[in-house]
């Protein structure tokens, strides 16, 4: 089995996780910029984080033979402070030429506030000006449906944005149709308690087709499972999905989306 982990916060994980993922067939790991679990106190904190994502973590991953890619942004959880966000967004262009940067992400909304929306628009403008792929985080739990609608409005209102170059992550049964119907890619996050279980993710694949869907673990510093994608592959196998269909869902699809960035090359 081979698979891509398109969304994992490896700076929060231990080396045993790298071993397990590579042993399970992981051919590339992609790490969106994320909230640290606490608010960073200054733009300098983000500068150091961006260095960690573009310099240090790829070296750590390379020790286990897996390519490491990343996405850059200020996370929606820290976007209420527009001045801080403006300064952080100003730091990003100098990192965009790093060999492992795939685009701008995970941008989006958290509590669906006006300031978060303003910062989302700034990120979308940055991506458009630099012709970057976009990875979008949709809000948690009760805020997801409204937030997904607001995010789609922002993306559709910017005529420079091509839906096929954006992935809207953390979709569930009540948002996946909205995303796919407007031409975007959709990501399903496999979590033990929130977001999708493996069984529900495979339900969604069966109901909506696998044309523009991927699955990820979004493993981070919280309760999460680094091997969630291969576990979902096992779920597909239990239901009798063909090996080719499984490969398309966990390898072919992420490769197809991510290869829109010419830097992306999974391990052979």
């Amino acid at each position: 089995m081979r698979y891509i982990e398109p969304h994992a916060h490896m700076v929060s994980r231990v080396t045993d996780d790298y071993v397990a993922m590579v042993t399970a067939g992981c051919a590339a790991i992609c790490e969106p910029a994320f909230w640290a679990g606490f608010d960073r106190s200054s733009p300098q904190g983000f500068f150091d984080y961006f260095r960690q994502l573009t310099e240090h973590e790829p070296k750590r991953a390379a020790k286990f033979g897996v390519p490491h890619y990343c996405w850059l942004c200020i996370n929606p959880k820290e976007s209420e402070d527009v001045q801080l966000a403006t300064e952080v967004i100003g730091l990003i262009p100098q990192f965009l030429s790093a060999p492992n940067v795939l685009g701008i992400g995970e941008i989006g909304l958290n509590k669906n506030s006006r300031n978060e929306l303003r910062v989302l628009e700034m990120h979308v403008d940055l991506a458009a000006r630099h012709e970057q792929l976009i990875l979008v985080h949709t809000p948690h739990l009760e805020d997801k449906l409204k937030g997904t609608r607001l995010i789609l409005d922002v993306l559709k209102n910017d005529r420079r944005i091509r839906p096929e170059r954006c992935i809207i992550d953390h979709v569930e049964e009540h948002t996946v149709g909205l995303v796919l119907d407007q031409g975007f890619w959709a990501g399903m996050t496999l979590y033990p308690e929130t977001k999708c279980t493996s069984a529900r993710a495979v339900d969604i694949l069966e109901c909506y087709g696998s044309e523009r869907l991927w699955m990820n673990s979004a493993c981070d510093w919280g309760v999460s499972v680094p091997l969630a994608v291969p576990y979902a592959a096992l779920e597909m196998r239990r239901r009798g999905h063909a090996p080719e269909a499984i490969d398309r869902a966990i390898f072919g699809n992420p490769v197809r989306f991510l290869s829109q960035c010419p830097k992306f090359t999974p391990a052979a």
Partner: protein, 88 residues
Amino acid sequence: MNRREILDLYFLDARSKVIDLAAFLDRVRRAEGDADFRFQALKRAFSELQCDEAECARRALECFSDPTTEPSEKATTQGASGAWSGTP
């Protein structure tokens, strides 16, 4: 997979979750004090489970969701409780 095969694969897991949920309701009802909007949202979601129509999961998720469309003025918290605290 046909319905029988799906039941073969998932029935015991679903049964276990229903019993867990029932025990949770008992636990809440045994406790003192008032429940809040989360419990009301949960009960609305339960009613969706009784429906024989398709897309039960979507409708259950919508029972917990903020149905409004305007952005909030300010993010006063970073977390989410799992259920919208407003009145549908």
